[in-house]
């Protein structure tokens, strides 16, 4: 699926990276612990998180994450959004909770990748 599909499944809003919505998404990772994301994330992943600080952007950068989704209505500040822009990341925001967001994407065919 594409970032646009992810956006539609979650009814999410684009905060940054509207021009990259056609990017391919192959797997997803949901966590508020960045070390776990660093341990388990796969290629072409989206990252779902409720953590809202600059290290989320850096973690995404190190892993070449395609798109970050802030769940539970978390609002990243301007510094975070600016960092995301510089790195050409897509940032989405949804009011859904973590569990629901992951479930909706999983049901739509997006999986976490092999262990």
């Amino acid at each position: 699926m594409t970032v646009k599909d992810v956006m539609n499944v979650l009814g999410a809003r684009v905060l940054v990276g509207e021009e990259h919505l056609d990017r391919e998404v192959r797997s997803a990772c949901g966590s508020d612990m960045m070390s776990d994301v660093l341990a388990f994330s796969k290629d072409h992943s989206v990252l779902l998180t409720g953590l809202c600080n600059p290290q989320v952007i850096r973690t995404a950068e190190m892993l070449d994450i395609v798109c970050i989704i802030f769940v539970r209505g978390k609002k990243p500040d301007e510094t975070i959004l600016e960092m995301a822009k510089e790195r050409e990341l897509v940032v989405l925001e949804t009011g859904h909770r973590m569990f629901s967001s992951c479930g909706m994407l999983y049901a739509a065919g997006l999986h976490g990748g092999a262990i």
């Binding site: 508020d32 960045m34 070390s35 660093l38 341990a39 600059p54 510094t79």
Partner: protein, 140 residues
Amino acid sequence: MADVIALTYEISPDDFTRAGEASSDVKSKLKQVGVSPAAIRKVAIAMYEGEINMVIHAEGGKITVEISPTEIKMILADKGPGIPDIDRAMQAGWSTAPDEVRSLGFGAGMGLPNMKKYTDEMNIETTLGVGTTITMIVKL
């Protein structure tokens, strides 16, 4: 690219929001010299975890990265408290990070295990009260 390129970074303590800047710089430099995306990913993850550790546990330190045609070597040296029990520190999930670090998304006890997982060689030299030097190699 016969020569070895050496990069050095001073990692400042206290400023958690800036932790990762050195890793970010190394990642873009490796891209410039044409290192494969798979190797860049390994270096970026391992060095970023190490850099975060230095800020959390060791009041900063120095990172040297040597890029040769055959391997990328990262040397992370700090003058922190040292690691009392390396075996335990290497266990996934074991962490001594304070709660405030956990609220920032780190301290899950995955730092050192991740560094080992993403590198081909890792060596830890540590002395209590003196500091820790971690050397990691990713082969190209």
